[in-house]
Symmetry: D2
Subunit: 177 residues, 4 copies
């Protein structure tokens, strides 16, 4: 299989668990012979909420690199931790900076929620689905919600059998979506 | 093409505009050589919220007919009018009566919102998407929102060019989803 | 204090845990000297989705009793179990049957979610909040989400200290809202 | 009346219509003898998504000014334009930077949606309500949704009588909430 798949790390927090989870997904994809490109929002220019949006759209070279990478895939995962009952604001800022309307249109997207609490960002994934649908993406029904993440993932290994199963199932489903 | 597609009329209101819209979709599908089966919730037994759920699941023959028809399609449209800021309760009751977990799992679903006001059930389609995702369905990104429906649809003809375009686009997308 | 508070049991499932939780809330309210009136949707006529809505609005005497009781309170709790990723369809049918627009307008409402899984109907309470806001109710920010309910509530006693605390806090907040 | 009310301009777009709408609300409040303090996210430091969050929480003096102003009010309006089917990411980044858990707890918040399209950010206000509830705020039921804003507001005068009515009603309700 030669498909390349994107993985968006939906936070700009340094050393985030979401980045580790992106690596985990990336590793699983490689094992299945699929190339993965990780887009880590923590590496965006610190002023991108101003320098890559509105009258500056398309003018921030560093941000444009993300746009180009996203343009190169037709499937992607979004890893979205739970902050204040939803996904990080910075993930929406990233989306607000994308070229419209074709950046996500007709792409296949799978959502992964992470949280320290039990919800696994269940509510935030609903919000995110609304936005992705607005962008014309087709979102995989299977939302993976990884609550109490610190208990079940040490940054390398997922120790919760159900979580492992759901992740594997989600990857399989996105690849054949 | 031999695919059969379902169309769920998401209300039990008699002579509902949603039923007319289902017929409109059905007609468009037939023109494309696709068979459509319409499931009109207004034809369900009046006590189905009690006689087809919980300890009665699977015991209401009339409701079971709907279940069987749904089992026979792997793609469907849901026509959902806006009542009190969301879709009709009766549509969720219908879903609550379905066999779980395989009734909608891995099916492709497209959502159509109708309203007298301007919103076209935008908020309710978000709610419905959450539920369909929970059921394991893959929901088409393109949500068709038909606001001020009485102005743009006389029960037979859609007079708003954009509405016509979105409906046609949605049908094409669901068929190739 | 003479305020009377409503408690809506948001399901029509017989012997539902939500009914037991309503009794629990009722007991706590009585201890604080507040009268509570419980509206159990399981006691509605089995055909009310047809006989109390649309052209039949206001014509179902049994349903009207619920309307009258609701008219008599300006604060209420809604106990909403999680079915298929949201609240029960029957709760929305009940709302769809209410006189509009003044049935809930300017009332204070607090939402309680119950589930066997961990979410405590977190997603469904978001949907419900949208609908209640549409109806003009002011919804208390504190949403009580009681996940894994069977583990923490035996139908009489809440054994999870945090759940007890949140319930007590929510009652206090609604009373002074 | 001596209450001071906050008005958050929920975007960092320069010369945004939301800023003009905030001024409109401010003017209406002044006419009612109420002081208003406007917090315009466009005036935040351009790197605040990095310099005011996570390990930098509380360290950005400029951002802290916003925090202090917010601490000084117990009621506020949030003006939220519709970007990509929801509110601007930057508004959530602002919230993600707030001190937790008391920044919005028990505060009364009213939401105003703006859009060029017809929706008036109806979907985004639902998302925002979920987040505000998570923060412990009590959100006014009446959501003002100002669709096709350019047609009905020239930056100074609201020319749509219903919009004027809803805005006035919302202000009255928040003041007496």
């Amino acid at each position: 299989m030669t498909t390349k798949v994107g993985i968006i790390v939906g936070t700009n927090r340094r050393d985030a668990m979401s980045l580790e989870m992106a690596k985990y997904y990336s590793q699983r994809l490689i094992e299945k012979g699929v190339e993965a490109v990780t887009l880590d929002l923590a590496q965006l220019p610190e002023d991108f909420a101003f320098s890559a949006l509105y009258h500056n759209k398309g003018k921030n070279e560093h941000y444009n690199y993300y746009q180009t990478e996203l343009d190169g895939v037709d499937k992607c995962f979004i890893i979205a931790p739970e902050y204040n009952g939803s996904f990080p604001g910075v993930l929406k800022v990233f989306i607000d900076g994308l070229r419209y309307p074709d950046s996500l249109r007709d792409k296949k997207v799978a959502m992964v929620g992470l949280s320290n609490g039990v919800l696994g960002n269940a509510v935030g994934l609903g919000h995110l689905n609304d936005i992705l649908s607005y962008m014309g993406a087709n979102v995989l029904g299977l939302r993976v919600k990884l609550g109490e993440i610190a208990k079940h993932f040490d940054g390398e290994k997922v120790s919760h059998p159900l979580y492992e199963k759901f992740i594997d199932e989600q990857i399989e489903k996105l690849l054949s979506f």
